[in-house]
């Protein structure tokens, strides 16, 4: 019994030391990580819509993809939506104008295969969205106007779903 207590104590001690060191590292890195995430979100928002300020609006509608909705001072909307891509979740910021057309999209984070799905962040793909309605913002195979990324139809579809969900969410909030 004595031996077990001793072993547990040693393991506990080692874990405590490691946890302490991690705590210190976390204190150092917490600030830069937070700043980076804020900067990234802010950049994504300003890329999809022109605004001076925005307020968060609570949304509890049917589209479960939508995670955050903001209304800008100009009466436009910024919607954050999470959709599942080919390998994991993709978080997209969608700018929706008051007339329910898409103003632009920006990928905040994605866990898609590097080089394939991540092309969703490229201008070639993204620049197809501005001005489209929910019906038009689908890949051409589904009857919309978006040319899917070569070899990454699933990712393209997922992004289109996010745009559709965002516009639908805004239309119910009106």
């Amino acid at each position: 019994m004595n031996k077990i207590v001793k072993l547990t104590l040693i393991l506990f001690l080692v874990s405590a030391i490691v946890a302490g060191v991690l705590g210190l590292t976390n204190m150092v890195t917490e600030e830069p990580i937070r700043l980076y995430n804020e900067k990234k979100t802010a950049e994504a928002y300003s890329a999809v819509m022109d605004f001076d300020s925005y307020d968060e609006v609570s949304y509890s509608g049917d589209r479960s993809e939508v995670t955050k909705v903001y209304k800008t001072n100009n009466g436009d909307w910024i919607v954050e939506a999470e959709v599942s891509g080919s390998q994991g979740m993709i978080t997209v910021a969608v700018g929706v104008k008051a007339d329910l057309t898409c103003n632009g999209i920006s990928i905040i984070s994605s866990s898609e295969t590097s080089g394939l799905g991540s092309k969703a962040s490229n201008a070639e793909f993204k620049d197809q969205f501005p001005g489209l309605t929910a019906d038009q913002a689908k890949v051409t195979k589904d009857g919309g106007q978006i040319n899917a990324i070569t070899g990454a139809t699933i990712t393209s579809r997922a992004v289109c779903t996010a745009v559709g969900a965002a516009i639908e969410a805004v239309s119910t909030l009106g």
Binding site: A19, L22, T25, S84, G88, M89, I154
Partner: protein
């Protein structure tokens, strides 16, 4: 709710199979697949531990780490939980279900260092799954692993008799076999439940 569970299961078993599309758990996949029997044993043991680990780690993360603001201890805590869990399962099986223990026993210690187990737990957190979704993802991820390893072992048993260049002996030919299976699994990509 039901659709989300269905799509998680389908994703974990076929579309985003842990081995063929996410490369999680390759070491035991390649190491324990020379015979179908051992492959089945390993697959079952992994499924069992993955399901349990997903459930327990979700609780630990949600009720201990998050409220205390200790998210940076996730990796450390999860691996300790998994190691303890494996140890516990081993002791429990040894005492109460010796027949199952003799079947799975030798694979259990190997599971601690199986990246599919830690991987599924970390992915649960990353994808913000709730308790039920996490558990389902764990179990179906394990089933996907089971499917992959059994398929692979059955192919491997035949490859033994094939003729191939001498340099490919052993692991390389297995990897080539696995690559072809991965190619087959790519056919599932795009399947979706609405």
């Amino acid at each position: 709710m039901l659709t989300s569970i269905l799509s998680i299961s389908l994703g974990a078993i076929l579309i985003n199979n842990f081995i063929f599309s996410q490369f999680l758990g390759c070491c035991p996949f390649l190491g324990c697949s020379s015979k179908v029997d051992t492959a089945v044993g390993m697959g079952l043991a992994v499924t069992f531990v993955m399901g349990l680990a997903s459930a327990i780690c979700w609780v630990v993360n949600e009720y201990v780490l998050m409220p205390l603001g200790l998210a940076f201890l996730q990796t450390l805590t999860f691996i300790l939980v998994i190691a303890a869990l494996v140890q516990f399962v081993e002791m429990f099986l040894k005492k109460s279900i010796p027949s199952l223990y003799s079947a799975l026993g030798i694979y259990l210690p190997l599971i601690t260092t199986n990246c599919a187990v830690l991987g599924v737990v970390l992915l649960n957190v990353q994808n913000k799954y709730n308790f039920i979704e996490s558990t389902v993802y764990g179990i179906t991820g394990g089933l996907g692993f089971l499917l992959a390893i059994v398929l692979f072992a059955s192919v491997r048993e035949r490859v033994e008799f094939a003729e191939y260049p001498k340099s490919f002996e052993g692991f390389p030919i297995c990897l080539v076999t696995a690559s072809l299976l991965a190619l087959a699994f790519m056919g599932f990509s795009g399947m979706k439940i609405f």
